[in-house]
Symmetry: C2
């Protein structure tokens, strides 16, 4: 059994497969009668044991350590389990073994906003990866208030969670308790938390922004507007990337003017509108715009178009995030696409290395490359 799936498959997954693989039609349309449990819960190990005519401990072994019981006995047990429609009680198992198979995902206050799918997409990837490895996913802190933070810490300190993945958020704190103080394995995705010793999966914001700016410079652009998000790593890196490209091309840093910088990402559309207002008041107008998110880029474009500007003839625009809608705008919006799926999976890998205890000198920061997707919102000038 183990040989088939390899040594690295968690116990509960084999367990699960054993119970349901090649499962014929067992009659479980209605709950079986005469079981040990008085209430409405399903059959127990004890019921399976009685049905199979073995001891309860043998049932446990047959399910969890199949190779440690006689093949014939194992068959009997599995048949009985199937017949009764037995499903193991994960709560009892967790209590007994001292650890759960629940991973907590800490989400930012606004799960989704604007046109981007960054958080939902990473969440999906994480869920899928964890699910394949036999873990369950609990979500927390969709709203960052006191009660939410307490919930998170209760989950962590109370032993409910086996590990935590933080998506684009700071470490939860409640009074004197901090998630960092738990022995709980933690990994951050999207935001670099390595400064506080949390392994992180991030993307190469600065580098890809340099690449993008370099490309626009190659196309003849020399003056830029950068629509900024909130102060922080992302903004610093993305803005810095443009500056790097300017320096590389021998252009002065003044050639990139900045709009925004105070509002947070969920207000991206508003930031774009405000940037449009800023733009029309500029004397020496930039020919190309970089935005810190697609929301900003899209609302900027919409507003400029309604003001009579033509995109890309008058202005070239590049967004950030790779939102699906970019491809279908008019003109299609160029954007920098993050490897969300890969980042999610990498986060899970990083976490499970720690959870399953085989993380010696593993890298503390995994940096995955984003890429510029050029579309109709950009044109060469000259």
């Amino acid at each position: 059994m183990q040989a088939i799936f390899g040594k690295r498959l968690p116990k509960f997954l084999e367990y699960d497969l054993l119970l349901h693989i090649e499962c014929g039609n067992s009659s479980r349309m209605t709950r079986a009668k005469g079981l040990s449990a008085a209430d409405s819960s399903g059959p127990l190990m004890q019921d399976v044991a009685r049905e199979a005519g073995v001891a309860i401990s043998t049932v446990s072994r047959a399910l969890a350590n199949p190779d440690r019981v006689n093949a014939k006995t194992r068959a009997k047990v599995l048949a009985a389990a199937k017949k009764l429609g037995y499903t193991p009680n994960a709560t009892a198992r967790s209590l007994r073994v001292g650890r759960s198979n629940i991973v907590m995902i800490v989400l930012p206050g606004t799960l989704a906003f604007g046109a981007g799918q960054v958080i939902p997409e990473v969440l999906r990837a994480i869920h899928q990866a964890l699910s394949e490895r036999g873990y369950n996913v609990m979500i927390a802190n969709l709203d960052r208030d006191e009660i939410s933070e307490r919930h998170i810490l209760d989950l962590a300190f109370g032993g409910t969670a086996r590990g935590a993945i933080i998506l684009s958020s700071q470490i939860p704190v409640d009074g004197s308790r901090s998630l960092a103080d738990t022995g709980l394995p933690i990994v951050s995705v999207l935001l670099d938390l390595s400064a506080v010793s949390v392994p992180s999966v991030i993307t190469n914001d600065r580098q890809v922004m340099t690449d993008a700016a370099r490309e626009l410079i190659r196309l003849g652009h020399e003056r830029f507007l950068y629509i900024a998000g909130p102060a922080g790593d992302h903004n610093t890196a993305r803005h810095g990337g443009i500056l790097d490209a300017l320096a590389e091309a021998g252009l002065p840093p003044e050639n990139v003017v900045v709009s925004g910088g105070t509002r947070n990402f969920p207000e991206g559309f508003l930031i774009g509108i405000e940037a449009a207002r800023d733009f029309v008041e500029l004397d020496n107008k930039p020919t190309a715009i970089f935005a810190c998110s697609d929301d900003m880029a899209l609302s900027f474009m919409g507003r400029m178009q309604s003001l009579g500007f033509h995109i890309p003839n008058d202005i070239s625009i590049v967004g950030f995030d790779g939102s699906p809608v970019c491809e279908f705008c008019n003109p299609p919006m160029s954007s920098i696409e993050q490897p969300l799926e890969a980042m999610g999976r990498a986060g899970v890998e990083l976490l499970l290395e720690r959870v399953e205890g085989s993380a010696p000198g593993a890298p503390r920061v995994v940096k995955l490359p984003s890429r510029l997707v050029m579309r109709g919102s950009v044109r060469a000038i000259g």
Copy 2:
């Protein structure tokens, strides 16, 4: 205590508040030593009991039933708990009381796609409502394959989940097991599953579509294109709503031509592109378009614009979902906005009525009103 928060607050929430409210700086930066547990888990009830000089059962009572213990004793216990940084073990509690405080949310395969935020937004609302009521949220089935369905059913049959909310999905089935066969309280949100006895929270698709079509007819439109989603309730209702308005106005049903109808929602953008292709081949062109989702409406608009059509002068467009990006397109996209927040909260109410056992003749279907938001993509003709 109870009087303050009202009778309806669940036990574990009071419990929680008791422990952390007005919580001064207790020294829990490093894990306390000399505790009963040998391993790395935190302090136990037994530790609190020893610290407070009372029996373990008194600690349990002081935390779960504060009014059933002497005020002085309670103070001692709470002080001890705070000092040690005690956090109750939810797993043990669940096992003991025979039910968990975990609600499972069954999500459709694609959590998010296109520009809409329907699922993420409902999920957020549900999470928040459940969190306030003291429940934790586990997510399942982001991808609808065999292994996911099995996970869901294990969660349900294994007693991990206390209830389930199904978002825009069918009831999970695995071999002979079905989620419907569990005693587990289930509620559906977005999709009407009342036909299979699952209480559902839906919106008035057909009615709001009639309202919208009536409005466009009032503006002078007489011929429509309906861009269809996959066959199913949503599509039937939304298409039907247009037909109702036509009949009401004495216009023949042929006045609405249909495009699409085979692809699923995640392919919305593609559907819109295909609809644009269909549109240009039509002889007697409609003047207004209704789409089954904003994705379809947006990509249709983008394609038509790139073909030289002017929106809204040549064609009026109305989407469905109320995606945030609609407001910031050029022109801004009219859309039918669903009450996602309210639907999420209603789903939680419906579920908790069942979970907490006070659901006698509660309505099996809650229908919440959507509303048409008119924007620049529509104009009057004449």
